[in-house]
Amino acid sequence: MQLIKNKTLTQDEWAFIADDAALNADYNIVSLERWNQDRDTLSAHKNLGIRFESDIIIEDIVEDLKHFSLIELFIPVFTDGRAFTHSRLLRSRYHFTGDIRVSGDFMLDQIFYLNRVGISSFALNDQDSAEKAIAVMDDFSAFYQESVA
């Protein structure tokens, strides 16, 4: 997997840890379920990331955002556009300043929009070209809506 962060091809330091596995990396991403069950232990970790599925209701988890330095928005299928709203709200309403990463079945041709709603890193699918993924962020020079990037 290639990772684009802040428009640059980057080495991924983060690892998603399955719910039944022990934390083993310096930078761990856990599921919301695991966070809810084990928040006291997990919040002691310095670099904690969390993965939100697309049915997350962001306003229900606002109080916890301060514990996370990365939020991964997992897109189950590219037609599911909820992550666009989640990212926008995380940035503009809840002022989350950490990395917001998108993963799953998003497509290269959605990166332009994802970037504009505040996604800062992209876990590319294997067939996608990193160069192209960076280039499409500049497909348009004119917009009608504010960006929260």
């Binding site: 209701i57 590219f78 037609t79 599911d80 556009g81 909820r82 666009f84 709203t85 926008r88 309403r93 497509m107 041709d109 959605q110 332009f112 929009y113 994802l114 504009r116 709603v117 497909d139 348009f140 020079s141 004119a142 917009f143 009608y144 809506q145 960006s147």
Partner: protein, 551 residues
């Protein structure tokens, strides 16, 4: 008419480049079919029975003569010399080659046109009243707000992958000519008790498989809050709209399942958080209204004598003026409908030569502007009464003066099996059959206002559920059958039609329509009682008895 700024032009040019790149990557096999499908749909490209179809946006139905000429040249150069006007004021080309569609889009961009978001699960083209700006019953011209909405919807990054398509219509008149009760969001310009003009906001209307009449979510919205309120509705829909079943994904289903009260509560709560961020300034509204200022009307004080004598002496002209023209807010002018419902032509189709000629007529008589209507006709909105006779002669020579606007043969019809991959049954040939049958009835012109809408499948592109007579094609074991509904309306008295009874066969549908009209003529109190009024008074029974006794 709104003129593009450099920013608007750059955006659509860049969209053409983007789609050209996407199409080339698809043709090289670099984009999967299902993913390219979503991308092409958001550029108006369907793949249908014979070839792709390109749907071009007609923003709130308003087109310049230069744009009409461009449609004509595209019809010649890329298609089979015609295009089709849809029920959402858009324009379709039925026979383009996929690899040439980027070139078509580039040509369209040269006249400030595009096909952005004319399909797909996104914010669609905003529609309006074809008589906007000229109607006598208008409170305020809705088009400046349509253009503000158009810009807000175009490439909105948050709402490009909605649960389902999303349609907005705006009306500024007492009489709703934009079917606002049947849109995901319907906006009516209204005056509040303090005399301020704002919007009544309807939500959750729609046609298709589950026709629903929109409900009022906010009786009065200040103009400055237009975009923040739309954004609040869209955000609630994007998060809470169903994504598990595409037939349950429209906002009307969210409103039905969660209830209007719950949806309203969520929207109002969301809106409270954003209303100050997206405020429209008075200046920005005023600037947009200037773009739609009245053309330079002549001051006419006396009725033209030649017009009066032509009306008196030429009964064909008189009939056309009566059926195909409408009062105008300026004395001495009328709005003239161009009927795209000639008996021998598919409803809504227009040839390249007709388009070119219409562009010339618009330049000569109507300030170079043409409007598309949601009943698949066109309007030349600013015709001097003194010019009507000459205009009629020219339209008649072009077969564009069939005096049937709002009458039995002014049918709305989808492309049906002839073109559409979704269709279960033919619709153009049914319209043709009904036309032939009605043609043989000598009192056809005395049938008054009558809206017959024919769709070839449950998706209901021709709005059959709000037709006075609605006809829906269904497939039963490979055979085309037709369900009939009566009494629908998309206007102020919004109503969903009532089922007549069991579906009828293709060969019976035209005779059934004839029978329905005979029952109406028997039942009506007098010639002034319209079909819809008679139906509402007598109910479905007399129609049902006669149809199923006879067939």
């Amino acid at each position: 008419m709104y003129q593009y700024t450099d920013k608007d032009q750059n955006l659509i040019n860049e969209r053409v480049d983007q789609f050209r790149d996407q199409t080339q990557r698809f043709l090289k096999g670099e984009i999967a079919d299902d993913k390219y499908r979503a991308l092409r749909l958001m550029n108006g490209v369907y793949v249908q029975t014979h070839s792709p179809l390109l749907r071009v946006a007609g923003p709130y139905g308003l087109l310049s003569s230069a744009q009409i000429r461009k449609l004509a040249s595209i019809a010649r150069d890329y298609d089979k010399n015609f295009c089709h006007f849809t029920t959402r004021q858009n324009i379709q080309f039925n026979w383009p080659a996929l690899e040439r569609i980027p070139d078509m889009l580039e040509e369209l961009a040269s006249v400030q046109m595009h096909a952005i978001q004319t399909s797909g699960n996104c914010l669609r083209n905003t529609t309006s009243d074809q008589l906007a700006g000229v109607a006598k019953d208008e409170l305020e011209d809705p088009r400046p707000y349509c253009e503000i909405i158009r810009q807000w919807t175009i490439l909105h990054p948050e709402f490009a992958y909605l649960p389902r398509k999303f349609k907005i219509a705006v009306s500024g008149s007492a009489q709703d000519r934009a079917a606002t009760h049947f849109h995901d969001i319907g906006l009516h310009l209204v005056k509040n008790d303090a005399g301020e003009v704002g919007f009544k906001v309807l939500v959750g209307g729609g046609l298709g498989r589950t026709p629903v009449i929109g409900q009022v979510i906010r009786p009065f919205l200040e103009k400055k809050h237009l975009l923040s309120y739309l954004e609040a509705i869209l955000r609630v829909y994007n998060i809470y709209g169903r994504r598990d079943n595409k037939y349950r994904a429209r906002i009307k289903i969210l409103v039905r399942e969660a209830g209007l009260a719950e949806v309203t509560k969520k929207v109002e709560a969301e809106w409270a958080l954003i209303k100050d961020q997206l405020e429209l300034s008075e200046q920005s509204i005023a600037d947009m209204r200037v773009q739609f200022a009245d053309p330079a009307y002549a001051a006419i004080t006396e009725t033209d004598a030649n017009y009066t004598s032509s009306l008196a002496n030429d009964s064909a002209f008189n009939t056309w003026v009566k059926h195909n023209t409408e009062e105008h807010k300026i004395t001495g002018y009328r709005a003239a409908y161009v009927s795209l419902k000639a008996p021998d032509s598919p409803p809504g189709d227009c040839s390249d030569t007709q388009l070119d000629a219409l562009a010339d007529l618009a330049d000569s008589y109507s300030f170079g502007m043409i409007r598309a209507t949601h009943r698949q006709n066109l309007v030349l909105a600013d015709i001097k009464e003194a010019d009507l006779f000459a205009l009629w002669k020219k339209l008649d020579a072009l077969k564009l003066a069939t005096p049937n606007i709002g009458k039995a043969t002014d049918m709305i019809c989808c492309p049906g099996l002839d073109y559409c991959a979704l269709a279960n049954a033919g619709s153009i040939d049914v319209a043709q059959g009904i036309n032939d049958t009605l043609d043989s009835m000598d009192y056809i012109h005395d049938l008054g206002d009558l809206k017959i809408n024919i769709s070839g499948c449950m998706n209901g592109c021709a709005h059959q559920s709000v037709g006075h007579i609605g006809i829906l094609g269904v497939d039963k074991k490979g055979v085309e059958w037709y369900q009939v509904t009566l009494g629908g309306s998309s206007e102020n008295d919004a109503t969903i039609g009532e089922r007549l009874g069991p579906a009828v066969s293709k060969e019976d549908i035209a005779p059934v329509v004839k029978t329905l009209l005979e029952v109406y003529v028997e039942q009506r109190i007098n010639e002034d009682e319209a079909f819809l009024t008679t139906f509402r008074r007598v109910g479905v029974s007399p129609f049902k008895e006669k149809v199923y006794a006879a067939n």
